[in-house]
Amino acid sequence: MPEKTLIEAIREAIDEEMARDPRVFVVGEDVGPRGGVFRATMGLWQKYGEWRVIDSPLAELSIVAIGIGAALNGFRPICEIQFADFIHPAFNQIVNEAARFFYRSGGVYNVPMVIRSPYGGGISGGLYHSQSVEAFFAHVPGLKVVIPSNPYDAKGLLKAAIRDPNPVLFFEPKKGYRLIKGEVPDGDYIVPIGPAKVTREGSDLTVFAYGMMHYYVLQAAEMVAKEGIDVEVVDLRTLAPVDKATILSSIKKTGKALIVYEDNLTLGYGAEVAAILAEEGFEYLDGPVMRLGGPDVPGVPFSPPMQDFFMPNPQKIAEAIRRLARY
């Protein structure tokens, strides 16, 4: 299988789905001739033309609303929000509209659309080019929230998202766009939305993560393996709806859990995983449910030492694993 980067896998998924279904189109800022500021749509405007790769005005609310409308009229829009930090102007259209359309119409009008957006820190982006926003949306019934951690999943999950009859938020760890590489088959395959995946078997404790942090967690697991700590790693992949079964079966096996995410700690996605474990996994717990997240400050600072201070990394994760293992 050819090796590809995360961003290549994403581009390939979009390209193949556009070739497969003429109802699929892309809309967003700079997605056209520029190919997106991260190059996710590079070459697609040239290949599919200006009516399938639409440079939107600078207005996120309407990027999403236009997507909703086009979806209602039979299309399969892929809306790009240039950075996750800029999804907030579209919050109302996503949360009050896209998420509630099917329910509010008594199951008559569904909204098949994808909202793609790069998220996450560690790229010297400062407060407004580093945000993680998944927790806001994973809280909203009616939305699916997907975050891939590797190129194989990225391609398969994005294809599944484009074919899903519901609004799917697809957040991409931008730090990993070129950093994370992996084998990706040419041509069509799907990774279904829903199931989490055990990406490393282990017996001492489980680390739950997704996106960029999952990449770091695997590194941290290797580090502590040398010290004799046998870590199981679960890549959550689909944050909403959550895959409780995989979470619970892992905790049943290991008895200890650490959840790693780069979003602010309080009410970040790890809170829900911890709550599930504390309620439905309580009988299996041999230690406190630990969370390692970003500190509760209003953003990832620009200056390198402060940025490093904010971001979880393999060393910090290994340290947290050691602490939990000692318990």
Partner: protein
């Protein structure tokens, strides 16, 4: 500072000059009347405590009926707001379909009894589900209209893949209140509409108030239609209580849209004589004198007078129509009252679609 209410004059257009047959204008009258009587009944039911809430379209019927007849009904697509009882009726909604929603009963076709009443949604009439947050429908309507453009541009690819495309574009009509034009949604929608010359009509019901806030606290321009200038779209004002004028103006906008000449922002002027909704008490913010003056904005007597003058309506026919309408409203109420509530667990249904029902408005 009170809201200004103009003197309104008899209708001077002639329906035949607008291409409307005698039969059609009588149908229009029937739809006006049915909407009015249905609406009045809802107020009574609410005041009797039999339903929790009503938000009224009284004094807005001229706008709704005029606009509906200007569309290719069943072909064009409508994304309305809560004052659009008359629009929905004129598009084909039956009174029982409204009453089921009003009572929150099983079989409500709009929302399965989940939304407040007057949140119109009827798939078979091309009426799209709306929400309560105002103005959200306007950029969505732009998206629906953009899809119509895309269909024409991408016709060969779509048809090759089994998605038929109609010969002409469907026109999308969306409505909102004048207050709601202050929302960012309105701006972004009109901006798209201008850039892509969308087959869209944005019909603003200017009833002088947004709940208690008069239009002069809402914007500094004398006319909502002035806002068109910022977007390169057409802008026009019409008298919302003159159903024939609304018809004419919206019809021109629809024709322009279908011809690829882009979007029109239509401002239809009326006056809201009821409180904002059954939860509101408008005595805190406007005088009774002003409201009395405002009641001159009444599409019903003006249209009735016209029909009498044109010898299309007689006292006998008028009475017959009244009776017919009353009977329809009675029957709708009776059926709705008899209907059970949904089962509690139905609250859990249809969170996620498992198959695509969004459909494809294709050939026809």
């Amino acid at each position: 500072m009170a809201v200004e209410v103009k003197e309104f004059l008899p209708i001077t257009q002639r329906h035949e000059d607008l291409g409307l047959s005698d039969e059609l204008v009588l149908q229009m009258y029937y739809h006006l009347l049915l909407s009015r009587r249905l609406d009045e009944r809802c107020w009574i039911l609410q005041r009797q405590g039999r339903v929790p809430f009503h938000i009224s379209g009284i004094a807005h019927e001229g706008i709704g009926v005029g606009a509906a007849y200007a569309l290719r009904r069943g072909f064009d697509i409508v994304h309305p707001y809560y004052r659009d009882l008359a629009l929905s009726i004129a598009l084909g909604m039956r009174p029982i379909e409204f009453m089921l929603a009003l009572f929150g009963k099983k079989g409500d076709p709009h929302s399965a009894a989940r939304q407040l009443p007057s949140h119109f949604s009827l798939r078979h009439l091309n009426i799209i589900s709306g929400s309560s947050p105002v103005a959200t429908q306007v950029p969505q309507a732009a998206g629906i209209a953009l899809a119509e453009v895309l269909k024409q541009k991408l016709r060969p690819f779509l048809e090759a893949a089994g998605f038929p495309v109609s010969q002409e574009m469907r026109v999308v009509l969306t409505t909102t209140g004048e207050g709601s034009t202050s929302e960012g949604d309105f701006h972004e929608a009109l901006n798209w509409a201008g850039i892509y010359r969308l087959p869209l009509v944005v019909l603003v019901h200017n009833n002088q108030y947004a709940i208690s806030v008069p239009v002069w606290k809402q914007m500094a321009v004398p006319r909502v239609a002035d806002r068109a200038a910022a977007y390169g779209v057409h802008g026009i004002v019409c008298d919302g209580s003159n159903v024939l004028e609304v018809y004419r103006v919206v019809r021109e906008a629809v024709d322009r849209a279908r011809a690829g000449e882009g979007t029109t922002l239509v401002e239809a002027v009326t006056y809201r004589w009821t409180p904002h909704s059954s939860d509101d008490d408008d005595r805190t913010y406007r005088t009774r004198e002003e409201v009395e003056r405002g009641k001159r904005h009444d599409p019903l007597p003006r249209f009735r007078d016209y029909l009498y003058r044109r010898s299309l309506l007689t006292q006998r026919l008028e009475e017959e129509l009244e009776e017919q309408v009353q009977a329809e409203v009675d029957e709708a109420q009776r059926l709705a009252e008899e209907m059970p509530y949904p089962d509690p667990e139905e609250a859990l249904a249809s969170v996620f679609a498992t198959e695509d029902r969004s459909g494809w408005w294709g050939q026809s």
